[in-house]
């Protein structure tokens, strides 16, 4: 940890705070296109914070993961999502199963829970980013909440990707990132998963004329 680390720590804290804010913004967002933009912004914040951590700590491999983030989450995935939306003619508004203010309140509870859960671990960490672990965890839980409360397929998938963002942020803040080969593997999985989902959306739409996953509740035990 070099002499300049207090400032880097502050910048990372700021980025972490923005990440949390973006998670809440996604939770409250009503329009799919804005949702994608928010996801893109989240990717950009993630990329920036990874780069700052890399610079502050001299962990060069983090530059590579920042690059992957930029490529994958700021450019490629939003592009694929935009294309999907256009090709599928998805309706622009997002429907929620629980109304948004209630969702937000649940979100605050989740954040408190995440902070408490992360507290003992972050005290053990020696990284300058340790206090952001709680935020990473909160972001994961908020994304999870978003997946639960949305009734359309596309927002659910964005929630899923956002959850991956949170996990990635957790990896950066707790341990300065995973080993390179693992990170590459994760990125590949995310990309392949997105492509497969793209195919899948078309199948669902073809079958049901809609991407409302409430159609997908027919299978029962008896």
């Amino acid at each position: 940890m070099n002499a300049a680390s207090p400032y880097f720590g502050q910048i990372i804290n700021l980025l972490a705070a923005i990440l949390l804010l973006l998670s809440f913004a996604m939770l409250s967002q009503r329009r799919i296109l804005s949702l994608i933009d928010l996801f893109m912004a989240q990717g950009a914040v993630l990329c920036a914070s990874t780069a700052v951590v890399a610079y502050a700590t001299g962990q060069n491999h983090l530059y590579v993961s920042a690059g992957i983030t930029l490529l994958l989450k700021v450019m490629l995935l939003p592009w694929i999502l935009h294309r999907l939306i256009r090709r599928l003619n998805v309706k622009w508004d997002v429907e929620t199963l629980i109304n948004i203010p209630t969702t937000m309140l649940i979100g605050i509870v989740l954040v408190i829970f995440a902070f408490n859960l992360a507290l003992p671990i972050s005290q053990l960490a020696g990284t300058i980013t340790r206090s952001t672990l709680g935020i990473a965890m909160a972001a994961v839980l908020l994304a999870f909440l978003m997946m639960i409360t949305r009734s359309k397929a596309v927002p659910q998938v964005i929630g899923f990707l956002s959850m991956e963002n949170g996990l990635f942020f957790a990896a950066t803040s707790a341990t300065y990132g995973m080993p390179m080969v693992v990170e590459l593997g994760i990125a590949l999985d995310v990309l392949v998963g997105m492509v497969i989902l793209g195919v899948f959306f078309f199948q669902i739409r073809e079958q049901f004329d809609s991407l409302d996953i409430r159609h997908l509740e027919q299978l029962k035990d008896d």
Partner: protein, 320 residues
């Protein structure tokens, strides 16, 4: 010591004068900026003064069933707002009155004024008055917790609820990035817009019956009562602006008492208020008035942000 106290009381007095004088000016300035931004020809800067003066000269017309409460309310509201602007440190943090009331009391003073204006709105028994009062209480009920949360966040940072100490700590610390303050700032802006009946929540210039909140309550007022209420409204805007400036841009508010510090503080305050007015006009121009049913959501978001600010402070900044 005595000389200091005397200077302090003088300064306090000066602050009151500044508030009473500057408040209508600020309203005029915001209106002017708004008109310019909307490509309209701007009203004169001094228009609020002239309006207040004109209203003072006019005769008061009271509804037949108006009670004494209706007549007393404008004075109470005006007194509350004047008191509020006394507590907020604008020209110096070394104010004799500041020890008497802290941030939470300030919220209480605002709440008192709100209760009276709502009661006055319902007093005459017109449908508009009750409608406006109900809406005002709804907004107040949602805005107050958010405002308190903002104050709590800053109090946590400075370990005190006294506004003067908060401003001193925030203004004289070494430079550090506080994400919590950024969140709290946004939340405070949203609360201020709602509390001062500005555009996304209410429109201060409208008389469109379905959407108005503040205007609906004061429809029955005339003459000097109306003048006081208008003046109080601009004082409220001034007080909120000064709180925002003191909490989030505290630079330039001196600690001591004296002519030379005043010479720095006064231009700094004027400059910050002018910039704040431009920003307010910008926000009002860029956003559209939302449906009244969306206001709870708007204020809910403000509350959320304020809570987040506090949480983020506890997680990221505590123990440093």
């Amino acid at each position: 010591m005595n000389a200091n106290l005397a200077a302090g009381i003088l300064l306090q007095f000066l602050e009151l004068i500044a508030a009473l004088v500057l408040a209508p000016l600020l309203s005029g300035w915001v209106n002017q900026c708004r008109a310019l931004l909307q490509n309209r020809s701007a009203p004169p800067l001094m228009l609020p003064y002239r309006q207040i003066a004109k209203l003072f000269e006019k005769e008061v017309v009271l509804a037949g069933n108006a009670s004494s409460l209706f007549r007393a309310a404008p004075y109470i509201i005006f007194a509350c707002m004047a008191l509020a602007s006394l507590i907020v440190p604008t020209l110096s943090t070394d104010l004799p009155f500041a020890a008497a009331a802290d941030a939470i009391a300030l919220v209480g003073i605002f709440a008192l004024a709100r209760v009276f204006i709502a009661l006055a709105g319902m007093d005459v028994g017109t449908s508009f008055g009750s409608l406006g009062a109900r809406r005002e209480m709804l907004i107040g009920f949602l805005a107050e917790p958010a405002l308190l949360m903002v104050f709590f966040t800053t109090s946590l940072i400075s370990q005190s609820t006294s506004l003067a100490i908060i401003v001193e700590t925030l203004g004289h610390r070494e430079f550090a990035i506080y994400p919590s303050l950024a969140f709290a700032g946004v939340a405070f802006t949203m609360v201020s817009l709602a509390e001062n009946a500005r555009v996304p929540v209410d429109n201060p210039t409208t008389h469109l019956e379905l959407t108005m909140i503040h205007e609906a309550m004061i429809l029955e007022y005339s003459g000097r009562h109306l003048a006081l209420i208008e003046w109080a409204a601009s004082l409220k805007l001034y007080a909120y602006s000064c709180i925002g400036l003191a909490l989030f841009f505290p630079w330039g508010i001196p600690q001591g008492v004296g002519i030379e510090t005043l010479l720095i503080a006064m231009p700094a305050l004027l400059f910050k208020l002018a910039v704040g007015g431009v920003i307010l006009a910008l926000i009002e121009t860029l956003s559209a008035k939302m449906r009244i049913f969306r206001a709870p959501e708007f204020l809910g978001t403000a509350f959320l942000l304020a809570v987040l600010a506090m949480l983020v402070h506890l997680l990221l900044e505590a123990g440093k």
